[in-house]
Subunit: 348 residues, 2 copies
């Protein structure tokens, strides 16, 4: 679980900045004809003719978004790509290109960056993305990854946060809370390891939730599914900060309220059992846990027949007038105002 | 010169992440019709119809690329934008949009970020750029800014590093070495200040070179000038790492050699006098200093009449066959192989 410190260590200074960039990026091949020029000039050049272009960017910072004592670098590279693609899919767009910038301190040998880039390369392959540029620089402490993702969408196919209307259905993909509970397991095992480094933990009961934390996937499949079902959501957002925060973003942008039904929130059995083990309320975890990278959308009532049989999509509530506010309807049928908690990364 | 520590200090935690982003970005207005949707959704949406799209990204890291003991935050914000635009112009493209991501530690109050963003806003106004997105997160130490710039260029108007041909002229804009010598002055004054904080330095003799370091400008004007002169360079690159490094990039990408004439390298009188004061060779400074953000290009001989009278453009050498190698022809008419020194940011 903790990094093996006896690996091959080639200091970054041995390659120099340009040598390092060449070394790390020569594994990326160009797959899209829209990529006219990738890495290797002052800028990349794209040819995206009729489609709209979608641009999004996200940063992952060591000690804030990840802890290298239990996050393998390859997984980190993969995740850094996936969290950005998730934002592209949340626009109902196809992701096509990314740039990847990293700041890294001298304590990382070349082999560590190779691991990181192998994860970036794997995600690019699986999601069919061209890596078209980036920047590699040193940092005074720690590792930081900044990714910008570019996508394409046919004019008028893009879906904003702002299109939800009263009576629309609130729909979410997959299940929620897994990434947060996976993090709790990883944090607990880190503490156990500190006390007894020879302890071999049995983590079989947590494989799904640990994978949700360490190797999340973005819902590229949903963009295709919606097209196949001939459903255009009225609003969509990805679930990165927790369901509650994302619902409130849609409500604010669309000037609507909503009723979210606690008993409809999709939870994996591993999330439920781990919540019991930790004595945490599973609804709180789903609402505020974050990092699920599912898609939350609103769908017109008339599209309900098209989605109702689909196991990927759960109807969890409906949109109301703005004046009604945004509420959780509990199992006990009481209404509680939804509050955004999300990542409070600026708190001490 | 050193930051006033008694300013108004609003802790970042008071606003929360979304509040902070709203607060910092609400000053940005959309100027381009190609920006369909800017900040405020999962991604920005652009409509760039016939043009090619140019994408570039650069990161500035505290303690590596800047020292906040003498770099005002507003200047830093301005510079973070400009260094990216410079890469767009080096493609012969018009810069149109940027995303700005920052990672910042709790030691910065809101007012510091407001200063930083006021510089970003000023650069966006002066260069006519839309700020379409970004990410704001905390860091465990220091400040990091990652900017991605997007531009447009008509098909076949883009200029790569790879198009230089033997006998082409090597041409550079403006003058070189100023930013590096400005940095030497700032570093010297920092040391003086440490010894005697009440010393009021007379920096009038260094205003040009200090501005070259603290508030560089990107050569947007040159893209227009080249169009007006009806000159399309065969290759182009921006001078961020020093003339020597950039020439070698063009030679490598174009499979050519070159002869660079020492006596033709454009130097400002302040650079020459400051080099004398520091007992540094001004040619070495121009070759390896970096951060000048001028444009280096190669131009076909037949275009020489169009550029020869222009005060913005200096012919500094010519392209040779690859087998001849890349050389500096000194004032004493000896030939020395050019070597890339540039930023060795991974050295200890």
């Amino acid at each position: 679980m903790i990094e093996d410190k006896n690996q091959l260590r080639t200091p970054l200074s041995e390659l120099g900045e340009f040598g390092l960039i060449d070394h790390l990026t020569n594994q990326f091949e160009i797959k899209h004809k829209s990529t006219v020029k990738g890495i290797g000039d002052d800028a990349a050049v794209l040819n995206i003719e009729e489609d709209r272009i979608v641009v999004t960017t996200d940063m992952l910072v060591e000690g804030v978004h990840f802890d290298l004592s239990y996050v393998p670098l390859k997984h980190l590279g993969y995740k850094a790509v996936v969290v950005n693609l998730s934002d592209v899919y949340a626009m109902n767009a196809a992701a096509t290109q990314i740039t990847v910038s990293i700041a890294v301190s001298n304590r990382f040998p070349l082999e560590a960056l190779e691991e990181l880039y192998s994860g970036i390369a794997l995600a690019s392959k699986i999601y069919n993305i061209d890596v078209i540029g980036g920047d590699t620089t040193s940092s005074t402490s720690g590792l930081l990854i900044s990714v910008t993702a570019i996508g394409q969408v046919k004019p008028d196919d893009e879906v904003y946060r702002s299109g939800a209307k009263p009576n629309d259905l609130l729909v979410v993909t997959g299940d929620l809370g897994g990434a947060y509970m996976g993090l709790q397991i990883l944090e607990r095992e880190k503490e156990v390891f500190k006390v007894n480094p020879n302890n071999q933990p049995d983590l079989d009961a947590y494989t799904y939730i640990m994978e949700r934390q360490l190797k999340p996937e973005a819902r590229k499949d949903i963009v295709k599914l919606l097209k196949d079902l001939d459903v255009k959501p009225t609003a969509m957002i990805d679930v990165s900060d927790g369901l509650s925060s994302e619902i409130l973003h849609i409500c604010k942008a669309s000037h609507v309220g909503c009723d979210l039904y606690e008993d409809k929130i999709p939870l994996d059995p591993q999330v439920i059992s781990t919540c019991e083990e930790f004595d945490i309320d599973s609804t709180t975890v789903a609402l505020n846990g974050g990092e699920d990278y599912e898609l939350l959308m609103t769908i017109s009532q008339e599209d309900f027949p098209k989605i109702k049989a689909n196991p990927n999509l759960s109807v969890i509530g409906y949109i109301t007038e703005e004046s009604s506010g945004a509420h959780l309807v509990t199992r006990a049928e009481t209404k509680i105002p939804l509050q955004a908690q999300g990542w409070k990364s600026f708190n001490n």
